[in-house]
Amino acid sequence: MTKQALETSSTIDGFLIGEKLHVGGMASLWSVTRSDIDSPIVMKVPTIMDGEDAEVIVGFEMEMMILPRLSGPHVPRVYGVGDYASQPYIVMEYIDGQSLFPLLEQSPLPAEQVITLATKIANALHELHRQNVIHFDLKPSNIMQRANGDITFIDFGLSRHLQLPDLLEEEFHIPMGTGPYISPEQVLQNRSDNRSDLFSLGVILYHLSTGQRPFGFPQNANGLRHRLWRDPIPPRQHQRNIPVWFQEVILRCLEPDPDKRYPTAAQLAFDLQNPGEVKITERGEKIKADGFFSVLKRRMGFAATIGTPRQPDQSPWLNAPIVVVALDLSDDSEALQQALRMHAANVLARIPDARLACVNVLRQNRLTMTYALDEEGRNLHVQRLVELKEWARPLGLSRDKMTFHVLEHVDPAAALLEYTRSNHVDHILLGAQGTGALRRLMGSVSSQIVAEAPCTVTVVRVPETKAD
């Protein structure tokens, strides 16, 4: 398919070809320059193009289709795409950084290091999914860490854009992915579920924290199927110092049934950023892999347990939002608290995968920042948590659907906004504030949230009773 051999010092569509940087199985990378582009850029060109290697051609087509539609620090910026008929290529930014691949050699890494990395990857993955793209080939060599620490995904040859044709789906009748990392549903050739990427991320986290691959390195299709029923050895059996909650998180990512994993990368990131709120189940406490009979049972009945594949036209994050209810328990009237509860219940009833975070801000005095550290401060903090739980009790939600947070900050609005941004909150519910003199003096938290929050905000108000 390559119509002309690329040569150093030749020019294609204004790009001056420099040195060949890398030759891979599927593509080669060339350093290129163009007079109007200041930053370092590279040209990716498919390697074997004899018309026979359909996977390489279609994978490259997919990348040409998807990459220019993505934006943000978690994907390479694209500067040009070549016409397929003459010379297929993608020119993109040169990423100053390293892939995670060398980390495998150093594993097991300390749990804190893996958790920090996991949080960054989950946050970046949520941004990718929000742009309607599922990567489908997450592995250490496809995850770059930039010099500034940002995570960037590369190699979108197996990826899928949920709003564009999937050129790969009908083309191949074999599982597509990389042996150690491929999700069970990809093994079954389903390419429509964002949670497949969470499985692959789970494999990476398992490997980095234990030094072991959870499902080995299967070399054939039969070996790939084992992960449909064979659970991995619990990470803590390899490394006792992995926290129970983190084992819970890793094993939840590695659930063979996508319905049992996190519904979104945002919800995974939420747990990683709020370890105290992770609901520990058998998964976290497990000390050895399941016995022969449970595995056999799963093996016999697997088809029934994997659940229905997602429809590709659904945007999963819309079905699994993180909803915050911000409660001012000291000031909100009973009527307002009830109204907030009703609105929260409505949202949660409508969207089954939604998750509710009940948040209260404990206002700190600017002059006594150490306040929270003394006995009185601790008591107050605990008291607020108790009150939050009491507010939520009538909702009757299980602990994995609902979390409680008391933020300590001098500025309640700033605290909520910060919380919203770092936890990918989709919807904030909060009560309207009264109109008393004190309120006017202090400014309205709700109006600042409405103006600045990067998500939907519902301000709940109880109608005033008119005085006669």
């Binding site: 398919m1 359909a54 051609i57 279609v58 087509e61 040409m64 289709m65 397929y84 008929a85 709003q163 564009l164 044709p165 999937d166 050129l167 789906e169 009908e170 083309e171 036209d313």
Partner: protein, 247 residues
């Protein structure tokens, strides 16, 4: 260049106006009409006159089976309500309007694009494209990289590599699809004036040749007005009723 494709208007003035004004807001350089300007709807005269005006300004238009039937007054092979509307349309149109319809070509080739009303291997047979097999017959019958057709009233996009059968993609409204790669694309248009995919909004598409992207659109229009005219003209009720449910 940006080309707007409108197919199967079927005498629906309100739907045509809504699509043309939507396309104008998007910006286009050229209009291509893919057949069946008339039949079913109550405004054949307005639609044909509008087309004549647009053609004089550079639009292209090809013949559909309803255009041929209405101009010639032939109702052979049509069901009751279709033939009732063809006979009525035949009465409404004057000779100049009929001549204009009959003068339209069966297909047009333009650079790497083919415009045709129905399945392209035998345009005059008016065969439907409803599945990969019929799409493949159409795609293999000519060399054009991109084919634009109508006739089935359902938005469908097929893509095919030389070695494999085509694959169907159902486009989403207002999402540009890159027509990339060493493959052929068959862009079946939805209907402007009588959608049949359970979505009553009018359908058209816009190709950007520079960006090599095709965007399908759905445009709401005043269905009540179109339906009222169908009733007033004494055409079969079903022709009005189906507009509301897109079937």
């Amino acid at each position: 260049m940006r080309i707007a494709f409108l197919s199967d208007i079927h005498g629906n003035r309100e739907a045509l106006e809504a699509c043309l004004s939507h396309a104008a807001r998007q910006g286009y350089d050229k209009l291509v009409f893919l057949g069946d300007l008339v039949g079913y709807g109550a405004d054949p005269v307005y639609v044909v006159d509008t087309l004549a005006d647009l053609v004089s300004k550079g639009a292209q238009s090809i013949l559909g089976n309803h255009d041929a039937a209405a101009a010639a007054g032939l109702i052979e092979g049509m069901n009751d309500y279709a033939s009732a509307s063809i006979e009525w349309t035949h009465q409404e149109l004057d000779q100049a309007q009929k001549d204009l319809l009959l003068g339209m070509p069966l297909s047009i080739e333009d650079e790497d694009r083919l415009y045709v009303h129905a399945e392209a291997s035998s345009p005059r047979s008016w065969a439907y494209i409803t599945d990969p097999a019929s799409a493949e017959r159409s795609l293999r019958s000519h060399a054009a990289r991109l084919t634009f057709c109508g006739h089935v009233h359902k938005q469908q996009l097929y893509h095919m590599t030389p070695q494999k059968p085509p694959v169907l993609f159902i486009p989403q409204s207002a999402i540009p699809v890159p027509l990339i790669g060493n493959r052929k694309w068959l862009a079946v248009q939805g209907s402007v004036g009588q959608p049949r995919d359970q979505n009553p909004a009018a359908a058209y598409s816009l190709l950007d040749t520079q960006r090599n992207e095709l965007t399908y659109f759905r445009v709401p229009y005043d269905i009540e007005a179109s339906a009222a005219k169908i009733h007033a003209a004494g055409l079969p009720n079903i022709l009005a009723a189906r507009l509301f449910i897109g079937r």
